[in-house]
Amino acid sequence: MSTPRTIIEKLWDSHVVAEREGAPSLIYIDLHLVHEVTSPQAFAGLRARGLKVRRPQNTFATTDHSTPTTPRALPIVDPIAKAQVEQLETNCKEFGIPYFGFQNPKQGIVHVIGPENGLTQPGMTVVCGDSHTATHGAFGALAFGIGTSEVEMVLATQCLLQRKSRTYEVRVDGTLKPGVTAKDIILALIARIGVGGGTGCVFEYRGSAISALTMEERMTVCNMSIEGGARAGLIAPDDATYQFLAGKAFVPKGAGWDAAVARWKTLPTDDGATYDHTISIDANTLEPMITFGTNPGMGIPVSGVVPDPASISDPLERDSLTKALKYMDLQPGKPLAGQPINVVFVGSCTNSRMSDLRAAAGVLKGRKVNPKVRMMVVPGSMEIKRQAEAEGLDKVFREAGADWREAGCSMCIAMNGDQLQPGEYSVSTSNRNFEGRQGKGGRTFLASPLTAAASAVTGVVTDIRALKS
């Protein structure tokens, strides 16, 4: 009998192209997703070397990061962003890469449209010049972010030089309490292990609480693996995965589909396989989470208090916390709930899918956004936008006083003009709260769509469970 293997090892083994003594392994990439920000210098590199794209049919591009979320009929105002979006189109045409451009009805955030169109499939290696590529791990794919030099390598050769990561089992068992979501699972994990906790590892999320998640919720969890320091995070495929994918645009049909499912069923971790690290989280005890600081590991239950640097013994860690609280202008020992906010952002590849929009709309229905708060809702793709409008969610948002926009990364990264003003506080459903991430001087509290919507109503950081009906 062969040694039991984890899904992470199976994916690795089946993608090794060549191994040489003293060098990293050559790994084959099944799906390469490309966007406007991290690719122009890679295409320029190909031109300089006179190289072609090796497999355009395994490559797919869209525009999202610097793309405006204003109506598509309007021109792109920022000339630098416009040039970048247009450069992507030029590059895709020249190198024969399929893409959903700015005006395409299926355009959207790269990590949203991949799964939405069935580009992301179990058993694949997926890369993109974007650290949240781990999102695609929700389908049982080994998916990780790469830099622009690597984008060029994959375009040219469909391969990358990689070292095997260590395996890290994240077990989440039990049942989530009402008001507690997939976002809270991942924020709780990162608060526990810290932003460097998973460095050098790939997470496999498993356990009864993970199996119970929908595919959209699984994407939320895998999405933020990088915030825990891991290069990738994945969940073994199961019936929920196959149901989600069946009939999607790019998946095989007919006999090809049956054969694919049969292959995918061999992926889950074998009984008896072991991991380099393991952590166990009890879902029953989780609370809605929120971050208070300037990295995603600085998270607390929304009912908790801001930690005190004086209680930390490591001097560098203490200084970092002090610096974070100064930037956030928060007092140690005080509860975060009740903190006034200026902006609420619902969107990003973490939480911009239908279930996220439904959750936020469910809170806002029959309520108003507090007059002191500006709320932006940005669907992850134009497809999601249409579907939400068909369900009338846009009406709920508009009637509550929120701004309903076109698809893109928007204020997650604040490259397209959607941003916080210096000193403003936001509750955001995105994934990063670094200094200035959502606009220079802006202050971000990361939370779930439920917490974000509840806070929009009250104008202060709010525990959804305390929201009066």
């Binding site: 192209v17 497999r55 030089l161 790019f250």
Partner: protein, 204 residues
């Protein structure tokens, strides 16, 4: 890629943990389609005030720290976004090495591809280096890649890890793409063997 053999320099101290790539270069400067001029935005939001004037109290602006090639930074340097603009900006400014107790995975990989050497030291050595710079900002250290050693002014030598392959690329100034292109036969063989699995992307 520029070769890296030995480097002797003072160390610019930046005692902050988890310096993320949004601090190294904020996202709004990533709209460029070239690699040039990114040094102007290195640590932009720590470096310039609201009017865009250099802040006198930020170390990168201090006249006495210009030309320094080693950054001494806190734990988990380079976490966050995968933007290669971060090592591009750091090297364009003049950094050739960064010393820390740990680096984020993608940043490390990007740095090595751009001739920027991540030097990992123990907590003790890290603390000693910060103490050294505080006492004597002129103190120089030497990084020798071939022997993977960091030499302190008191004669102490500490070893740091670099994988053999990256070391070879840095010492010779060769890049990974060239190396992969030499393995086309293996890539073609793999593709032939995996034909079915590689063709499950079927636009309908």
């Amino acid at each position: 890629m520029a070769k890296f053999t030995t480097l002797t320099s003072r160390m610019m101290p930046m005692a902050v943990d988890n310096i993320d790539t949004d601090q190294i270069i904020p996202a709004r400067f990533l709209k460029t389609i070239s690699k040039e001029g990114l040094d102007k935005q290195l640590f932009n939001d720590w470096r310039y005030d609201a009017e865009g004037k250099p802040k006198a109290d930020f170390i990168l602006n201090a006249p006495e720290w210009q030309g320094v090639a080693i950054l001494l930074a806190g734990d988990n340097f380079g976490c966050g976004s995968s933007r290669e603009h971060a090592p591009w900006a750091l090297t364009q400014w003049g950094f050739r090495a960064i010393i820390s107790t740990s680096f984020a995975d993608i940043f490390k990989s990007n740095a090595l591809k751009n001739g920027l050497v991540p030097v990992v030291v123990s907590r003790e050595v890290h603390a000693k280096l910060f103490a050294l710079v505080e006492k004597d900002p002129q103190a120089q250290v030497t990084i020798e890649l071939a022997s993977q050693t960091l030499s302190l002014p008191d004669g102490t030598k500490v070893e740091f890890p670099v994988d053999g392959f990256s070391k070879h690329c840095l010492l010779e100034g060769v890049d990974e793409l060239g190396y992969i292109l030499h393995q086309m036969a293996a890539i073609e063989a793999y593709e032939a063997k995996k034909d079915v699995e590689l063709n499950t992307l079927q636009p309908s």
